[in-house]
């Protein structure tokens, strides 16, 4: 595969917790304008690699870059400024704020950034931009009716949508979604998948989605990486992955971990 210069490139990523190697030599590419999946059974190291990509966990080796910029040791906040947004497996909303404020913070926080000056003063043009983007994203994610509701009082499905709308409001080129379907029923999950496809098609955003639920991944992803015991065991289109014997064994666990990638 040729290196993509406009997306996320992970090269030889390794994460250790003490003696445990949680992620071992993971390499993947998540280009803009496509949905890339990262799947694997529970404990395979999906969320860990995700956190390492985003800077919440320090990788012990390897390289993470986005649009040609090395991000491996950059602080978490720099991700948003380079155009990467994310959601969390355990939903992290601002529970005491309204849905509207939650979504608005997607852009507001990015504009506030790290400088004391920008955190203290918002320019008029910025305020207008935040307001516009917030409306647009709430509309896109069907949240307009809930705008004044406190985020803490919503159902899991609605909370997932708020988190997505908030990430989208940042105007990012790439979104990292950490198990967006967990806690959703089959119907909600399908609708969420359709929404993601629409986002990619209309806005050209790239998405890297971590899931252990194959059904969502196989319907929305363009390309899928399969992780098990911290190693990449397979990659290909969803159809190829579904047909793969290696993946089937990893999920059903009938045989020891294959040595070969």
């Amino acid at each position: 595969m040729s290196p993509v210069d406009n997306g996320l490139v992970v090269d030889g990523l390794e994460v250790r917790f003490g003696g445990l190697v949680a992620v071992n030599g993971l390499s993947l590419e998540a280009p803009i304008g496509r949905i890339t999946g990262l799947i694997g059974p529970n404990g395979a190291g999906k969320s860990t690699s995700f956190d390492a990509c985003f800077g919440f966990t320090r990788p012990s080796a390897g390289r993470v870059s986005f649009a040609g910029v090395d991000l491996t040791h950059a602080p978490v906040t720099s991700r948003a400024h380079l155009g990467i947004g994310r959601t969390f497996q355990r939903i992290e909303l601002f529970d005491n704020l309204s849905v509207h404020h939650n979504v608005a913070l997607g852009l507001e926080a990015k504009l506030a950034g790290r400088s004391p000056l920008t955190q203290l003063w918002a320019r008029r043009s910025e305020r207008i931009a935040v307001e516009e983007v917030t409306r647009e994203m709430m509309d896109l994610c069907h949240l307009t009716d809930l705008a004044d509701t406190r985020a803490g009082s919503l159902s899991t499905g609605q909370r997932r949508l708020v988190e997505l709308a908030r990430a989208l409001a940042g105007g990012h080129q790439l979104l990292l979604l950490d198990e967006p379907a967990s806690g959703l029923d089959a119907h909600e999950s399908r609708a969420f998948g359709q929404l993601l496809r629409r986002v990619v098609e209309t806005r050209g955003t790239g998405i890297l989605v971590v899931e252990h639920d194959m059904s969502l991944v196989s319907t929305i992803c363009d390309y899928v990486y399969v992780l098990d015991y911290g190693r990449l065991i397979y990659q290909g289109t969803p159809a190829e992955v579904l047909a793969s014997e290696t993946v089937r064994i990893a999920y059903l666990g009938t045989e020891p971990i294959p040595e070969e990638v």
């Binding site: 985003f54 919440f56 978490v76 906040t77 720099s78 991700r79 948003a80 400024h81 947004g85 994310r86 969390f88 992290e92 909303l93 601002f94 529970d95 005491n96 704020l97 404020h101 608005a104 913070l105 997607g106 507001e108 926080a109 990015k110 504009l111 506030a112 950034g113 790290r114 400088s115 004391p116 955190q119 203290l120 003063w121 918002a122 406190r150 803490g152 908030r166 990430a167 940042g170």
Partner: protein, 652 residues
């Protein structure tokens, strides 16, 4: 070296008691998740009971010790367990408020009964000495160390080897899971609180003859346990005891050098806070014992009053304030300091209510502001407004220093770090030339020497400006970021905003306001003095602001009136009860958090009446639900519907 040995012996003995107190603290914290700021107060209670029985009524000391440790201790343990159970679902800030409230109650009651002066107690243990390498060692000192070692080893064994100890370690993580294994989580917690309180009571009794009985001193000195507990990372009983010994020795040995260098006199008693502060700052994230984070609770969003109502209310309030100087007569001085206290509580409220941070060193901020104001006004002959602004600006970097622990720590550890910082400042810097000097008092003249009446309006004007500034911050971008920090710092960083910057900014803003308040307070009185701006006030202020409601602006005014103005209108005999009252109210606020919000209740009451006069189809008056209903059942959106449409519907 040999001349140090006597100090080391003394240090070992007191250190053993500190360690003992620390061990009790760690035990209860680990099992309940509630860090007990009133741990020292329990020790005091034990010591006072012992004094009452043994010294006043001639009860033999073994019996008095038995009553203090084995009857009072368990009784207080049971009460604390009940409180701790109630607190398990609340935020770290509220837990701090609750136990600080308890501390104030015990402290207040002790002061009322025994007076604020120190009572010297003869040592009840045998005081005969024997010589070890030329140093006199008392049998009482040997007993102190032996008791400390025995209790620490005993508790370590219980925690590590017994079924109960195992349960104690597990209960804080998941009480429900523990109950699945057939153990009673409440029972396990209760035994931990009982053991902890017994140990605390014992440490108080053992320490009283050494230090003397003084409500404040003992309450704060057993807080030396904090330093010891920090050495044990708030989790390890054995290390905590060793930490206590270390703290005791370091304090005693530094005492030896402090006699040679008078400027270091404040150092020995501050050793534990140095230890505490240093460990909190240096500790790796996650190495301290952490209790699962509890999210901030719903603050209950009220629909704003109609604009017309608000205008009328504001005008009425302005009119009332304008009348004050002509009505209150000689008590105007109190109202002037009330205006300054509004600014203090705005500053504290901004931190506590908007950003969800805890500060237990606010009095130190105010003291820095007050002394700087005096230096600028008297020393540098600056005009009044410039000196006030200068005082505020000088206080800002002090706020930034306190922001450092806030970035690394949260909840109870932040509270501890700020508490330690405040005490350090009080003991080490207050009496130096930087602040009040050795005299302890500075002049702080008013602008052009104006009368009380004029100055009252100046102070109110400054308070209004401070309120507008606070409101501007709250409603602006920073305010929104801070609310987000209080809910989920993790999400906020992922969105690209730096939590560090936001926290430093809010601590600086809070310190700025506190500096203004300091200058305002000082020039109101004409002098800046360190009395009334110590660690005790920081504790008191936190409890007052906690009980005054959930909204920053209104609660600042309420808190200022309650604390600074109201006492002068009450009989003098009630003044002593003030800390007890505030402590009790803060404890109640924390225990019933989210269920009692009396400013919200009041407001609902007013609105309900307004609705009724407008004949809108409000189904039930919120007021009918009383105090307890106002938070849990919020107004439905239809209540705020315009009166006109309602009239159409209601009219036949």
């Amino acid at each position: 070296m040999s001349d140090l040995l006597p100090f080391i012996v003394v240090g070992l003995a007191t250190g053993a008691v500190y360690g003992l107190a620390g061990v009790g603290l760690v035990l209860t914290y680990r099992t309940s998740g509630v860090f007990n700021f009133s741990h020292g107060a329990i020790a005091s209670a034990g010591a006072y009971l012992f004094y009452e029985l043994h010294n006043k009524h001639g009860v033999p000391w073994p019996l008095a010790v038995f009553v203090g440790v084995f009857l009072l201790g368990p009784a207080m343990g049971v009460v604390l367990e009940l409180i701790g159970r109630r607190l398990s679902g609340t935020t770290a800030a509220l837990r701090v408020v609750a136990t600080v409230g308890l501390l104030l109650i015990v402290l207040g009651v002790a002061t009322i009964i025994y007076g604020p002066a120190t009572i010297t107690l003869p040592q009840f243990l045998p005081t005969k000495t024997f010589k070890v390498t030329g140093v006199n060692v008392g049998y009482d000192q040997v007993i102190l160390v032996a008791v400390g070692i025995a209790v620490s080893i005993g508790l370590t064994v219980i925690l590590r080897k017994t079924r109960l100890g195992m349960a104690m370690r597990g209960v804080v993580d998941d009480p429900a899971l523990l109950e699945l294994t057939g153990l009673n989580a409440t029972g396990v917690r209760r035994s931990a609180w009982i053991i902890g309180s017994m140990v605390a009571s014992a440490s108080g009794i053992l320490l009283a003859p050494v230090l003397g009985l003084d409500p404040l001193l003992l309450t704060l000195l057993v807080v030396q346990a904090f330093g010891a507990a920090a050495v044990g990372r708030f989790r390890n009983v054995g290390l905590t005891f060793v930490g206590g010994l270390g703290v005791g020795i370091a304090a005693a040995v530094s005492q030896r050098y402090a006699t040679d260098f008078p400027s270091l006199l404040g150092f020995p008693p501050s050793v534990p806070f140095f230890v505490l502060f240093a460990i909190l700052l240096a500790a790796k994230k996650g190495s301290l014992f952490e209790v699962g984070e509890v999210r901030r609770q719903d603050r209950g969003h009220l629909t704003p009053l109609p604009t017309a109502w608000r205008r009328v209310a504001l005008l009425a309030a302005a009119g009332a304030v304008a009348l004050i100087p002509f009505v209150v007569g000689a008590k105007l001085q109190v109202w002037i300091s009330g205006a300054a206290y509004v600014v203090i509580f705005l500053s504290l409220g901004l931190l506590v209510k908007t950003a969800g941070q805890v500060s237990l060193c606010h009095a130190a901020f105010v003291a820095v502001g007050a002394s700087t104001f005096s230096h600028l006004r008297v020393g540098a002959h600056l005009p009044w407004p410039v000196a006030l602004l200068g005082a505020a600006l000088v206080t800002v970097p002090v706020g930034a220093i306190v922001a450092i622990p806030a970035i690394r720590l949260s909840g109870v550890y932040l509270a501890l770090a700020t508490f330690g910082f405040g005490i350090l400042l009080e003991r080490m810097v207050y009496r130096t030339f930087l602040m009040y000097g050795s005299e302890g008092n500075l002049l702080a003249p008013r602008p052009g020497g104006v009368s009380d009446k004029v100055y009252f309006f100046v102070a109110v004007g400054v308070a209004v400006l401070a309120a507008l500034l606070t409101r501007k911050i709250q409603r602006g971008r920073l305010g929104r970021l801070l609310e987000a920090v209080a809910d989920s710092p993790k999400a906020l960083t992922s969105l690209g905003a730096s939590v560090t910057t936001a926290l430093v900014l809010v601590f600086c803003a809070s310190a700025f306001l506190a500096g203004v308040a300091g200058g305002l307070l000082a020039s109101g009185a004409g002098t800046a003095g360190s009395s009334g701006l110590g660690a005790f006030q920081s504790l008191l202020w936190l409890t007052v602001i906690a009980m005054a409601g959930t909204r920053v602006l209104s609660s600042s005014v309420i808190a200022a009136v309650l604390l600074a103005v109201l006492p002068i209108y009450l009989p003098a005999s009630l003044t002593d009860w003030q800390p007890v009252f505030f402590g009790g109210a803060a404890l109640a606020t924390a225990l019933f958090a989210g269920r009692i919000d009396w400013t919200g209740w009041l407001r609902n009451e007013v609105e309900a009446r307004a609705d009724r006069t407008r004949r809108s189809p409000t189904l039930a008056r919120r007021g009918d639900l009383g105090w307890t209903g106002s938070m849990s059942r919020r107004r439905t959106p239809t209540v705020g519907a315009p009166a006109a449409t309602s009239l159409v519907e209601v009219a036949p």
